[in-house]
């Protein structure tokens, strides 16, 4: 039976040249380490189904993500993990062989397509078949790095862009068209992943540490971390956690929630601005709530996977003012609200849990 979903292949750019022109033992060992790093980080709802040389094949059925843009976060995360591993390996090697000295010639590209596929199993061998799988295969074998000007990229087909509702975000991407025999023309958009890694590298970690915590509230959600991430970052779910009347996200990245996004939480007549100051998908996000007279209160939401479920930990910092007196006044004002805030978050967590149960019970 065929079904619809996202088909993804992560493939090393420069793989063949690297293996052919360097010492095979070391070169293969480097490639294997990088593949293992990717495999360790391919988590639900992504389903790994096979390796082919330097290409990792993954798919996820349609509807696995609430916000389909989350798939883009997954890809960027995988890219950063790859880049970090490669950089660490390169920094730590003392070997002077060609393979170890030229490992940074490797890069990672992703091809993502949306379409129909059919899972087939013959003996122990599993594979996906269908015309859309062929499109994916042709695209990943097609060398386009020169045309799009980067070796680390995510190439999304038009079908994928539409399914992910990314149309507004293609402005920053490079349009690319490919034509294959029997498959016709395929329009794609390529996103350069180098700036993503550069930003990640420069990013300062901003979190509320356990030592600085004013209070913590923990809830277990029976979903994978990628989905749990959506249940804490999507404005509608955030509204439920915070018992607000309405939460609106104002983004500065073509509709994509992330670093710099402001959530405006309406509680009756009051509107509270909360700005995302650190965004590390599927691990944590840190948000600063604006308080009167330019005071702030920071909280971090940490996600920790436990088997099939994810622990969501809200860790709140005490209010901070512009000076000592301001801080003292703010804390005196907010201290009595601690119990109420904890209850709100606990009740909010229960509402989200109910929603998840409803979603899971739905066909």
């Amino acid at each position: 039976m065929s079904q619809k979903g996202y088909l993804l292949v992560a493939n090393f750019e420069g793989y063949e040249a690297f293996l052919m022109h360097t010492e095979p033992e070391h070169a293969q060992s480097i490639v294997n380490d990088l593949i293992n790093t990717l495999l360790d980080n391919i988590k639900p709802p992504l389903i790994f189904f096979k390796l082919e040389g330097g290409a990792v094949f993954v798919y996820t059925p349609a509807g696995s993500f609430i916000d389909r843009k989350t798939l883009l976060e997954v890809i960027e995360n995988l890219y950063c993990t790859f880049a970090r591993t490669l950089e660490t390996m390169y920094r730590n090697t003392v070997c002077t062989c060609q393979a170890c000295q030229h490992m940074t010639s490797l890069d990672l590209k992703f091809v993502i397509h949306y379409g129909a596929y059919s899972l087939t199993k013959i003996d122990d061998n599993e594979d996906l078949i269908g015309p859309d799988v062929l499109i994916l295969r042709e695209l990943f074998k097609n060398p386009i790095a020169d045309q799009i000007g980067t070796t680390g990229y995510a190439l999304l087909t038009e079908a994928c862009v539409e399914a992910m509702e990314l149309n507004s975000q293609t402005e920053g991407m490079k349009a690319y068209s490919a034509a294959f025999e029997n498959l016709g023309g395929i329009k794609c958009f390529a996103q350069d992943l180098h700036p993503v890694w550069e930003n990640e590298r420069k990013r300062q970690l901003i979190t509320v540490s356990p030592d600085d915590a004013w209070f913590e509230v923990e809830t277990d959600l029976p979903v994978c971390t990628a989905l749990a991430w959506e249940y804490v970052t999507e404005p509608e779910f955030r509204r439920q956690w915070l018992s607000a009347n309405k939460v609106t996200a104002y983004t500065n990245d073509k509709g994509r929630v992330g670093f710099g996004t402001t959530y405006v939480c309406a509680h009756g007549k009051f509107k509270i601005n909360q700005i995302i100051v650190d965004w590390c998908p599927f691990e944590y996000l840190t948000v600063d709530t604006a308080l009167p007279m330019k005071g702030t209160q920071r909280h971090t939401i940490e996600l920790t996977p436990h088997g099939d479920s994810t622990s969501v930990l809200w860790r709140f910092n005490r209010a901070e003012g512009q000076n000592r007196l301001h801080t003292l006044i703010l804390r005196m004002l907010f201290n009595p609200m601690k119990g109420k805030l904890i209850n709100q978050l606990k009740q909010g967590g229960e509402k989200v849990l109910e929603k998840i149960e409803q979603d899971q019970a739905a066909p």
């Binding site: 293969q28 060992s29 040389g53 015309p131 062929l134």
Partner: protein, 367 residues
Amino acid sequence: MAQESGYLVITDISGYTAYLTSVELEHAEGIMKSLFDTLVKEMQSPLTISKLEGDAIFAYAKEGSFVQGQTLLEAIEKIYCAFAMSLESMQRNTTCTCKACELMPTLDLKFILHHGTYMLSEIAGRQELSGTDVILAHRLLKNNISETTGVVAYAFLTQACIDAMELGEMKEGMKAHTENYEHLGEVSGYFYDLHGVWERARESRQVYVDPDESWFKVEIDVNANPALVWDYLADPKLRRHWLQADGMTVTGSNKGRLGERSEYHCAHGELTVIQTIVDWKPFEYMTLDVSFAKDQRFRLTTRLTPSNGTTCVSWYFFKLGGSNFIETFLTKRKTSKMQGMLSDFFSQGSNLLREMIERDIREGKVS
């Protein structure tokens, strides 16, 4: 990570993309599954499947998994014939007029065979093959053979493969071909058309001694796969050894390749026994008409039956007659007298065969 050398074999369904993109996926699914089932089932020793790769199956044969180069050709031809037969029987048995069924004949098969080194490493619980030669074999899937020659179903063997298989004059029946690839440079080799192989297989009649009608039989179990046992039965040098002949020559081979109408000339002292191959179904059975003298003739089918990692080798004997009733009567009577001698001789020979194979496996000469 272990480095090994051996044969890399890619079996690729040609016409797959055009087929899948022009037919109903739901219908095509069953057809493709059935074809892949056939291919996977046929892809046995000396080949080991590494993985399915979309429209292709990547397999390999370790060094020493066969003795004579011809065996690898037999293996891929057997796969091709099974594929062609499966496709033909699906076509014959369908009355469906959908595009998926109608366009089945547009599918065909090609093989890429290369010899080289590869690294075996375990990733995600599976044995992965990698290395320059693995890349080369895959690159060869995109070639100009069909465009320049019009041959759709073929086996392309790289020069490295031809050399390792020691094909010698067997390659004379093949056509030379060269490809050029970035990072790899020029890759030359030989290819041959597989349609002819299937046509011959379809036309060939089956000749074998039915176990129920056999004169007598000799049987032995050998701890090896059928393809390897086949090599020891077929290769003249090895055959000479377990048949304890003083000499063994072959006539009637097709450019060095044994098959129907080839003859083993087995010298035992002054006596030359002529064994004419009348049916040749690699890894399953071979039937030979054996002639000691004009009036001492019998038919011998050697059948291989795999069972749990071992192969049962059975020799079925059948007395041959003459051109008329009297000649038949006399020949069969004279041949009957040989039963004790033949039975002893083949019992000894079968033990020798088993010892040879199991010793060679123990010593790592073959696997």
